[in-house]
Symmetry: C2
Subunit: 337 residues, 2 copies
């Protein structure tokens, strides 16, 4: 009998949800941590009126600044800048044309000042015109080589350990986790599965059309076009969620004004809903650029006082990196700090 | 000991894959049935070189004519036609305007002759301009009331029982099943979960943009716009698969020239791939409108001789409704035949 009970324990699907282990060990024992755990318990307990069937458990996460470092510059923009030398080598006439001319100087300040129109040319030239297979290969190569200058680690190492725990905790409780990013859908898909355990079909991002065709050997190809289908920022986030998922999330997690509509759309759904905003207030372990950092409005970035006030008024949780998180990164990254 | 073994059998996750039960009882014991079973075994057996990890097991299905009846007219077009009286009641000035004027006559032959430009006006007027919630409620109401004139059953009853078995069989073997339809993504999502066990996020269809806004009470809304993002037919099918899934399917199943590129894209991937075409050759139990039915080219419809030849040349399976299927519908539908 002892043997068969032991076997039962091994086979039991309940084992993954062992309630005695702390599912969020990198979080301090704060009210925010408790609110996340309480919400998951409320939506997964069959005996509660707040129970939600598994197929409706959708959780959406912004990426830049919510799942990994976005400061001082989005990793995808660094990718585009890093692609310029190869681009100019292939088409030398670009050397004298903006924005490539400025990018080639390496002068970060001048690059930061490029007008939006020139930046769009850079994005179009580095993110479209090639096949999906070529693009994926280029991004993989870059990710393997490129390093964040402060932490001296690949960008995919700079994910927030407390958020990785939230992703895993939700999945262990039947939630489907999605990335809903202003970044490029094809770009993020290259590493989302390995980095976050999020498969390509659960990455919603800014996305352009592709064109189906054939290469010179007659093999089918999909070529990235500079035709924008979805700008997955601001109102584009709930629009993208409808396009790609077709259900309103139960949980949404963001960190900037680009996430405002996703959080509002999520929180105003019927039944239990959870909206969370990550406040970057940890100048020592990461960066401090949210409100209440003594910075002028112009330097606050994308988490404004107005957004903070809306969060407080509408019952969104504001998570403080400084106070809610025991650690920011996995231990091997911290040692490089 | 007997008791504990009984419990183990109940709990064992292997039970769902019990190899002694026939997973496709509505299929005749044909080479096509065997090929489907062999493919599933080859891709799910860890000891075979053809094994494919579960997360890459994507199967895509056309809907109209592949999962349910499409003849003599797509159900969604009937929905649009049925909406016209309510539309004209709300906007009486439409009564004298084409295509509404002709639709109101109820003259099927005249309606069938409406030019594409007029049909597009009909689609725009009945499928856009309302919120997603309003649209979903209208479609649900229609599905509950409308009946196919031949079988006297709701359209959602007219799914092919052998295909329902394929969907379940694949899911029991770790495959993620998707609908990839030329029909409207929002339309098909309304019933796909209840009808096929396919959740909204696994429905890829022809889709337009939405606009995020607020109703007069300040609640967020998504309003359907007449702006086409994806025409999910022909080349649009692999393009839609990339947009919404981001992986090449292992299995694709279609029935018309609108599925040609999806089947080609699927079959030409590396490793094991299965492409299937459903041939409508059963004039008694359903309809016969594929090739080799003694019909002139103009009456063959969307499964042409050219497509048939391509299937044979490229190793796609051609499934005959007449020869491969024991039954077409679930038993309660057949009684209405």
């Amino acid at each position: 009998m002892a043997l068969s009970l032991g076997l039962l324990a091994t086979l039991s699907p309940l084992r993954a949800q062992d309630s005695s282990a702390d599912p969020l060990p990198s979080w301090n024992d704060s009210t925010n941590k408790q609110a996340i755990v309480d919400f998951v318990k409320a939506t997964t307990d069959l005996n509660k009126s707040t129970f939600v069937p598994a197929e409706q458990r959708i959780a959406t996460f912004d990426q830049d600044g919510t799942l990994w470092v976005e400061h001082p510059i989005y990793s995808q923009i660094i990718y585009c800048l890093d692609r310029v030398p190869a681009l100019v080598a292939a088409k030398p006439e670009l050397k004298k044309v903006e924005p490539f001319k400025t990018v080639l100087t390496g002068d970060r300040e001048a690059i930061a000042k490029l007008p939006m129109k020139e930046l769009e040319k850079l994005l179009a030239a580095t993110l479209t015109g090639m096949t999906i297979d070529q693009f994926t290969a280029e991004v993989k190569k870059w990710l393997a080589d490129a390093k964040d200058p402060r932490w001296k680690h690949p960008y995919t190492d700079l994910t927030y350990q407390p958020m990785q725990e939230v992703l895993k905790y939700l999945r262990a409780n039947g939630y489907k986790t999605y990335i809903v990013t202003g970044g490029g859908q094809d770009f993020v898909r290259v590493y989302a599965e390995g980095t976050y355990g999020i498969p390509p079909e659960q990455v919603v991002g800014t996305v352009g059309g592709t064109t189906y065709g054939h290469d010179k050997n007659g093999k089918p190809t999909l070529t990235k076009q500079p035709k924008l289908l979805l700008n997955d920022n601001n109102a584009g986030k709930p629009e993208g969620i409808h396009l790609m998922i077709g259900r309103r999330p139960l949980i949404a997690f963001g960190n900037s004004i680009g996430d405002e509509q996703m959080l509002e759309y999520t929180k105003t759904g019927d039944g239990p809903r959870l909206a969370l905003l990550l406040l970057h207030d940890d100048a020592v372990r990461e960066y401090a650029y949210g409100p209440a950092q003594g910075l002028p409005d112009s330097k606050i970035g994308t988490f404004t006082q107005k957004l903070y006030d809306e969060a407080k008024a509408d019952g969104w949780l504001v998570v403080s990196m400084k106070n809610d998180w025991k650690r920011i990164f996995a231990d091997d990254v911290v040692s490089g700090q």
